[in-house]
């Protein structure tokens, strides 16, 4: 492929809309006669609503209606109607279904009024009496009842291999420790919102904050019994999501219900505290035992994970597959159990499972390297894996060694004194840490459509999303590249349920999945254009095959003799075509089955720990990534940078504190739930090593949404150890833990 567009640090094509305020998000579409809905949240974690008194609220002038479990419209009742594309096994939460309370801050009523202020005021007048039952939110207390789910949402734990117990016992060096992190919340800057627009005749258009409009559309059809043609879902811009928008959240249900009932457009926006009421990274506790021989060969891994779920769905994520992916080891045993609590079901949050499992594994590996007395980098390279032992398949590509080489050089790793507490500057202890990680590089089936007009404008579309990831931009680049057009002539459309099918935007598979569909549809367009040219008998393209032509500079031309060329605009005009349109569906190639596709990364971190105050500053980060072909180094850099910032948050700050007395996340706002701010982020360098992969998908891309975060928190924890001599195995690493 000639690359004029792919690989170019193209500015975001939606950049202008975003810096001028023209980009509209779900809560920002206007409609005539728009009404506002405010959600009332449950004050208890478990029990029943005994009595709800809405009379006072209803008497407020301007209040249109209040929906509760008592007066809600008829809804579907089967679990399957509420199950969405990302639903874990179990029985999904059904808003306003009955009087049962399953978790704290459960939505129990929707107040709809003429203005937002009125709805908010009236919501404060709704009085609720509960029949309280005892809730269990204490993970530690409930851990004795941990269970293996009948069905895993994640990969079921692979069977053990080798003789893990014996190998562990006989190993020269051993560590056995417990690693944990608390629940964490996504907190995208845009709060979840839906604007449902009443179109008349039972038809609605919904602007929803979602990572896949088709998921919302299906949900609405299932729950409210609407026909596909009566509901269109749009989501052109999403103000961050990180997984929070994978499942349709309850504001969608509320807005749609009220719109259908009132036959009037309704907007529902959640509050920041309500952003803590529908899914989070589950608290996870991991027991890891590792054994190594005297020469530093990893002999045994025993990894048990315990992770939080709700009482109604068995949520699980890929926590324990990482030893089999990252290290060569003959004796491995893995298990993954769930701890059911009276909370809402956890929800995929940036690199779900990977962030968790790699944190524990990479801290444990670091500890073991010290026991063996080897440099942490050297120890990891000694136990480097060339195949994925979970499934016993080779990697489609793995340039992790190159990541180590380039990363270590840029960071200056060779100047490290291995001794903990050996490096300092004034009252700051300096620590250098390292960790590596991986993330699956999946391709899924996807559709795409391409329309070329006689003016030479190309529009390519697919019902995918851009949650800040750069989808608009990279898809435009791929299409421009394939058709040989300037990027200004290309428009990519997404976030509309009327567009060709595409999976949820998540799991780092969008670049590969939708990108492959865009490439395929452009190839088909090329074929169609050639056929068009061949319709006239005197065409110089008459006898040529598609392999013999290329599209470049707005022309179709012969590769052999580039003087034989026709501008695409002329081609359409000569054939009296206003436009040419094609659709395509791409699927992963069968060959992929024989390989295990992963992206990889190494992260080097420097921390400064104030010896007197225990404050930790991440002063330097070098993230070296093997992520296949990089479509756009500029947006790719941002993806990895975002992952680094998330890793800093996870390692040092993020902690949704459960108050067991109320069974509620008590720090549910941005003042108390800390995420990194500008002052928390210092030098960050990103390296993309060259990695060619012909197997992973037709573009050779691997996706970058998650690989940037996975290695960061363990690298920070390892650096904190190197600085202070203290192993903190329970995140976040706050100053009290290092003092």
């Amino acid at each position: 492929m000639v690359t004029k567009q792919i690989g170019k640090p193209q500015n975001r094509v939606d950049g202008r809309d975003k810096v001028t305020g023209r980009a509209r998000y779900a809560a920002e579409f206007s409609a005539t006669d728009l009404a506002y809905g405010v959600v009332v949240s449950s004050a208890i974690a478990k029990g029943k609503i005994k009595e709800m008194d809405t009379s006072e609220a209803l008497r407020v002038e301007g209040v249109l209606d209040i929906f509760t479990s008592e007066n809600r419209p008829k809804l579907a009742s089967y679990d399957s109607s509420f199950q969405d594309e990302d639903a874990p096994p179990g029985s999904p939460f059904r808003p306003l279904f009955n009087r049962d309370i399953l978790f704290n801050m459960q939505p129990i009523a929707l107040v709809v009024a003429e203005t937002y202020e009125l709805a908010r005021y009236a919501a404060s007048l709704v009085k609720v009496e509960y029949e309280t039952e005892e809730h269990v939110t204490n993970f530690e207390a409930e851990r004795t009842n941990a269970y293996e789910p009948e069905e895993y949402k994640s990969t079921p734990p692979p069977d053990p291999w080798g003789k893990p117990e014996t190998a562990l016992k006989e190993a020269e060096h051993r560590i056995s420790e417990v690693y944990s992190h608390p629940s964490q919340h996504h907190n995208p800057m845009e709060m979840h919102a839906s604007t449902a627009i009443w179109e008349g005749d039972g038809r609605i258009t919904v602007y929803d904050k979602i990572q896949g409009v088709l998921n919302s559309q299906e949900y609405i059809m299932g729950v409210f019994g609407l026909a596909k043609e009566d509901v269109r879902v749009l989501s052109p811009f999403v103000g961050g999501a990180f997984g929070s928008g994978l499942r349709p959240q309850y504001q969608l249900f509320m807005a749609v219900m009220a719109t259908l009932e009132l036959k009037r457009s309704v907007r529902v926006v959640l509050t920041r505290p309500q952003m803590f009421s529908f899914g989070h990274r589950p608290k996870t506790v991991q027991q890891l035992s590792l054994g190594a021989s005297a020469d530093g060969t990893l002999e045994a891994v025993v990894h048990h994970a315990f992770a939080e779920t709700s009482r109604f769905e068995d949520y699980s994520e890929d926590v324990i597959i990482w030893p089999g992916v990252l290290y060569k080891c003959e004796n491995v045993k893995l298990s993954h159990k769930l701890v059911g609590l009276d909370v809402y079901t956890p929800l995929d949050m940036r690199a779900p499972g990977g962030t968790t499992g790699i944190f524990a594994l990479e801290c444990a590996i670091d500890e073991l390297s010290y026991k063996v007395g080897m440099d942490p980098v050297e120890f990891r390279l000694k136990n480097y894996s060339v195949k994925d032992q979970n499934v016993n398949k080779p990697f489609s590509s793995k340039e992790l060694q190159e990541c180590y080489r380039q990363g270590a050089e840029l960071f200056g790793w060779k100047n490290r004194n291995p001794q903990p507490r050996s490096m300092r500057e004034g009252h700051n202890l300096i620590g250098w840490g390292v960790a590596n990680g991986a993330w699956e590089a999946t391709q899924k089936p996807s559709g795409a459509k391409a329309v070329l007009t006689k003016e030479g404008k190309l529009t390519v579309s697919s019902a995918t999303a851009d949650i800040g990831t750069g989808t608009y931009t990279i898809m435009s680049q791929i299409a421009a590249e394939c058709m040989g057009l300037p990027i200004e002539n290309v428009e990519f459309k997404l976030g509309d349920s009327s567009l060709p099918q595409s999976p949820l935007e998540g799991g780092s598979w969008t670049a590969s999945t939708v990108g492959s569909a865009v490439k395929l549809v452009c190839e088909k367009l090329g074929e169609k254009l050639l056929e068009l040219a061949q319709e006239s008998d005197d065409s110089p393209f008459k006898e040529v095959s598609i392999e013999e032509v290329e599209f470049t500079d707005g022309q179709m031309r012969l590769k052999e003799d580039t003087s034989v060329a026709i501008p695409l605009t002329q081609l359409l005009k000569e054939n009296q075509k206003d436009s040419v349109q094609v659709e395509a569906e791409s699927k992963p190639a069968d060959e992929q089955e024989n390989y295990s596709p992963y992206s990889h990364s190494v992260v080097f971190v420097e921390v400064n720990v104030d010896e007197d105050l225990g404050t930790i500053k991440v002063t330097r980060v070098v993230s070296a990534v093997a992520g296949g072909r990089i479509l756009n180094p500029k947006t790719a850099w941002s993806q990895i940078l975002g992952g680094v910032v998330w890793g800093i948050g996870m390692a040092l700050e993020e902690y949704s504190v459960m108050d067991h007395q109320y069974g509620r996340f008590i720090n549910h706002d941005l003042a108390e739930y800390h995420v990194p701010v500008n002052a928390d982020v210092h030098d960050v360098e990103v390296i993309f090593v060259d990695e060619e992969d012909q197997i992973v998908n037709p573009l050779g891309v691997k996706g970058l949404g998650e690989i940037g975060i996975v290695s960061v928190a363990p690298a920070i924890a390892n650096a904190v150890y190197h600085a202070t001599g203290k192993r903190v195995r329970d995140l976040p690493i706050t100053l009290d833990k290092v003092m």
Partner: protein
């Protein structure tokens, strides 16, 4: 249904605001925040709501040239004020240099915090307080970017400050 009796005692005031250079009179209920006035009543949705509690900076606008959190103040308190929102920065289709720099440095991803970051950046340049890298980071820490574009946002400011110093 019972008679509608319960009306909150919320009065409506008429105020004059100059928004993005245009003076206009608006009727505003006294309980409406400046942010909601912009977003819900004037369809100026470029200014974002990320918390409604002064904790995130998404709602930052320029009030008489100074950056403020528009969610933390009632509209009625600003009779006669001059506001600049993200919609008012570009002149005749030409982006403000800070807007262009945000694009060039890829200083955003989802774009939701961006109007607030841009207004905050311009506000900070106006203040003239940021001299060092650490100053920039500290003084921009009221604007959260969950996508984590901080490093690139800082580049915009470094460049702008250098430019100003070279004047």
């Amino acid at each position: 249904m019972q008679e509608k009796a319960l009306s909150p005692t919320v009065s409506t005031e008429r105020i004059t605001l100059t928004i993005n250079g245009t003076s206009q009179q608006v009727e505003v209920e006294v309980w409406t925040s400046l942010l909601d006035l912009l977003r819900e009543h004037l369809d100026l949705t470029g200014t974002k709501k990320g918390c409604d509690h002064g904790q995130c900076g998404a709602c930052t606008i320029l009030l008489d040239g100074k950056r403020i959190n528009s969610c933390l103040t009632l509209a009625v308190m600003h009779d006669g004020a001059e506001l600049t929102t993200i919609e008012g920065l570009a002149q005749d289709g030409e982006l403000h240099p800070v807007q262009q720099a945000f694009i060039d440095h890829d200083a955003f991803q989802c774009g939701y915090c961006t109007p607030g970051q841009i207004c905050s950046t311009i506000g900070l340049i106006n203040e003239g307080k940021a001299k060092t890298l650490d100053d920039i980071r500290d003084l921009m820490s009221g604007n959260i970017c969950r996508c984590g574009a901080y490093t690139n946002i800082v580049k915009v400011l470094q460049e702008a400050i250098e430019r100003n110093q070279n004047l």
